[in-house]
Amino acid sequence: MSMAPDYPPDSGEWICGVCCAPLRQVKMQVFYLNSAFDVSLPSCPECGLTMIPKSLAEGKMLEVEMLLEDK
């Protein structure tokens, strides 16, 4: 089970609402049911606010969630 590593925003030019900084792809871990996955997500380089694009949430992430739930 693996999640492909890099998930940019689905579309648009996004900045952080607090810091006004453009987002960067930052490598981090997401967690579910005692498992952790390394992914690169759009994130504010200053405050760390992180985005989960819709295509990831309803695609690979959902698929992995369901797999782990059946483990």
């Binding site: 648009g12 996004w14 607090v18 981090m28 997401v30 994130s43 405050c47 606010l49 989960i52 059946d70």
Partner: protein
């Protein structure tokens, strides 16, 4: 774990789908007649030949003389005539070459056959094929007795081809006098011995001294091949019987020389295959133009085979069809699912896809219950913490919400004074309250106005979602809360408007008397404003009222009193089909639930009449015109019955809001208390977005919370291209994302999604410090 092997076998045994059809059971060689006919119907005599050669030790001889008991039990009898299995066998043998037998390694045990009758030759062929060196002692030539006994063999070439095949096996024919001396010689000179009773009648013992099923006589001797005695005293050689005895004796000899039990695990215990002939049209038997069928005639005749199988339950159920099997297979998969220690639980979806509606149990001649199996499996999964959380989470949260102080209400009849308790308690159920608040109120007023002794009211969920989800602890806790309400109201008789509620209340409050609102209404005068504009309606019974005759009768009587003409669909009453709401399948597997709803809608020819509000609303999702019985009794003002029937039920968010609204209305009306309306969220959700939200179980209150969190904390993203904002909020085990824009005095939602994985820096979590949820 709640399953063990013996329990599994008990459950499996109830499903007869894997039992052989009657033709195969009656065949002494258990020929797979169904498979043979399938190949013949497809025009593949060479493939069909392989099936014959595998099962029949002497196919040429047997096809010529067998009395074909298979045809005597064919279910086509009376529907065009039994399949001409025997003639098709002969046609197949003539049209194909014999298949090459596998040469098995030689065995060390030597076996003797005394007498070349049919039983002796069958046994010889069976044993020699398996590699045993076999000596057949016969009084004359090997075929002399056979051709005397069965004159048909003299003309056919089946005998020649079978004898040629025997010649290629480790088998020797020896001419000898079949007497006691030979018998004694063989008993000591061979490891095992078969005495052919037809070939050597003077040596054969009385039938009483032989064990019938195994044909075992004594020491290392078996005996087979008796003649058949008719009730009129006629004695004749019956090919199927003699050949069958020969096979059983051969099997016994193998066990004898191998020194294993003659009986252990020998006969497979299986119930008879049940076959429904409903809807089977008669097709006349094809008689061959000549002695044998032409290829076309053979295909046509073989195609008449019904391919007997059960699938009585599977044919009616989208869930049972979805996983391409049948209950026996599913029982095994569910057992394996519960047994695995490591790896993936591949049958979780199978367990959670069942509507627990009980139709399979009702239709099955052996009463196989997928509901019992799946509910036990769910309880087991919950106990072992293996139940995927999302399967029933939304329904359980909905149950909690419907029983929360915002929606629940316990109200004594306000006309009673001095602390007197009401004689009855109206329990509308949380879905009726969610879908038909006004009619619920009207119904309550009608009951109060027509029943003496006062009618109390309890708005709450009955707890059935917890039961269906296998969450016994949650159900017990909920039952305890219901009991407190019931006790405080003086333990009155309960009038319930939902058949699922009746089931749940029977479990939660077994000592309470619970009756359906329809029985109660049926004993009262009709409401004055009842509807009289509907003519023919197809009655749809809720699956939870399958065994509630009082419910079903009262529904019909009330509808007729309102002037409706009722028609019963094909599956009705006890056999009714689920609308797709039962067992939380709509929550766990919405697509499957939609298929169930569509199937049921399609099976109701007229506008439907439901007596459960979830049935009504589920059928309406399929654009099926459907009325609830309350629409006849308390018609909606200013709406035609046709429009009411076509109206969609409220969505998930609206249901929650409606329950709370009904409570506020009742509190104001009966308790004269202030119940302020909730403040508007200020978030506008376009209807097309709302549909998508509901599909993903995202509620408007989740949206409002997420927007409020983003706006109050300032933690959102901004899209420079269109000025939209994107915020997230994680109130429980789910993170909700909202993409919205600020427009003048309101916020407009453009999109929303959700996920369960936990991400540092999203949903209100601190960056780089995620919980490992």
């Amino acid at each position: 774990m709640r399953f063990d092997q013996s329990r599994l076998h008990e459950i499996e045994a109830r499903c007869t789908q894997e039992s052989p059809p009657r033709c195969q059971v009656l065949c002494p060689f258990q020929l797979d007649v169904r498979a043979f006919l399938t190949e013949m119907a497809q025009g593949h005599p060479e493939r069909a030949r392989k099936i014959l050669d595998r099962a029949l030790p002497l196919p040429g001889i047997l096809a010529s003389i067998c009395g074909h008991p298979c045809e005597g039990v064919c279910l086509r009898h009376g529907l065009g005539g039994p399949l001409a299995v025997n003639k098709l066998e002969q046609t197949c043998l003539a049209a194909s070459a014999p298949s090459r037998p596998l040469s098995l390694p030689p065995k060390k045990f030597s076996l003797a056959i005394l007498g070349a009758g049919l039983a002796g030759l069958v046994a010889a062929a069976e044993l020699a094929r398996k590699g045993y060196p076999v000596t057949v002692f016969c009084a004359a030539s090997p075929t002399a007795l056979l051709t005397t006994r069965f004159p048909a063999l003299r003309t056919g070439d089946g005998l020649t081809s079978d004898m040629e095949a025997l010649a290629r096996l480790p088998l020797t024919f020896e001419e000898a006098k079949l007497d006691a001396a030979l018998l004694a010689h063989c008993e000591t000179g061979f490891d095992g011995l078969l005495l052919d009773a037809d070939a050597a009648p003077s040596l054969a013992p009385e039938e009483e001294s032989i064990d019938g099923p195994t044909r075992y006589w004594r020491d290392n001797v078996c005996c087979a091949g008796r003649l058949t005695l008719t009730p009129t005293g006629h004695v004749f050689p019956e090919a199927a019987r003699q050949a069958g005895e020969g096979r059983r004796a051969a099997q016994t000899l193998e066990r004898l020389v191998g020194k294993v039990s003659l009986t252990a695990a020998r006969e497979k215990q299986q119930g008879s295959l049940h076959v429904s002939l409903e809807g089977v049209a008669p097709v006349p038997r094809i008689n061959p133009g000549n002695a044998l069928y032409t290829p076309e005639e053979a295909r046509e005749e073989a195609a008449r085979c019904l391919r007997c199988q059960c699938l009585i339950c599977v044919r009616e159920c989208a869930y049972l069809q979805k996983y391409k099997g049948y209950p026996r297979v599913y029982a095994r998969q569910i057992y394996n699912n519960a047994s695995i220690v490591q790896g993936f639980h591949t049958a979780n979806a199978l367990v959670n896809g069942c509507a627990l509606c009980g139709q399979c149990e009702q239709l099955c001649p052996e009463n196989f219950s997928m509901a019992d199996l799946c509910l036990t499996a769910r309880e087991d999964m919950v106990e072992r913490n293996c139940m995927p959380a999302p399967a029933h989470e939304f329904a359980l949260e909905d149950m909690e919400s419907a029983s929360s102080p915002e929606c629940a209400l316990a109200l004594n009849d306000i006309s009673l004074s001095g602390g007197a308790h009401s004689a009855r308690l109206f329990f509308p159920g949380c879905q009726l309250a969610a879908s038909r608040g006004e009619q619920t109120t009207e119904l309550y007023e009608h009951l109060r106005g027509n029943l003496s002794g006062g009618v109390a009211l309890l708005l709450s969920c009955c707890g059935i979602p917890a039961h269906w989800a296998g969450r016994q602890a949650v159900f017990t806790e909920h039952a305890s809360a219901l009991r407190n309400h019931w006790d405080s109201l003086g333990r009155p008789e309960i009038i319930a408007a939902c058949s699922s509620c009746i089931k749940a209340l029977d479990l939660a409050l077994p000592e309470a008397r619970v009756v359906s609102v329809w029985e109660t209404l049926n004993a009262l005068p009709l409401p004055q404003r009842h509807c009289a504009e509907i003519s023919t309606l197809s009655v749809h019974d809720p699956c939870t009222a399958r065994h509630d005759t009082n419910w079903r009768n009262a529904v019909r009587e009330l509808a007729r009193k309102c002037g409706a003409h009722l028609e019963e669909p094909r599956l009705t009453g006890q056999d009714t089909s689920c609308c797709g709401y039962g067992g939380l399948v709509a929550c766990a597997q919405p697509d499957l639930a939609a298929e169930m709803s569509a199937n049921r809608a399609a099976a109701l020819p007229h506008t439907a009449l439901a007596s459960c509000i979830m049935c009504r609303d589920r059928l309406a999702t399929q654009d099926k015109g459907c009325l609830h019985l309350l629409d006849l009794l308390f018609p909606r003002p200013h709406m035609s019955a046709q429009n009411v029937a076509r109206e969609k039920g409220p969505g998930l968010s609206a249901r929650r809001a409606n329950r709370a609204a009904l409570r506020r209305l009742l509190v104001r009306r009966f308790l004269d208390e202030d119940a302020p309306e909730p403040l508007p969220t200020g978030v506008h959700v376009p209807p097309e977005i709302l549909v998508k939200l509901e599909e993903h179980h995202i509620l408007l209150e989740d949206i409002a919370q997420a927007v409020a969190w983003a706006e109050s904390s300032g933690r959102y993203f901004k899209n420079l291209e269109n000025n939209r904002r994107l915020g997230s909020y994680r109130p429980r085990h789910v993170t909700f994302w909202v993409e919205y824009s600020r427009e003048a005095d309101k916020i407009v939602l453009h999109d929303a999604w959700r996920h369960r994985m936990n991400t540092p820096g999203a949903g209100g979590n601190a960056a780089h410090a995620g919980e490992n949820a």
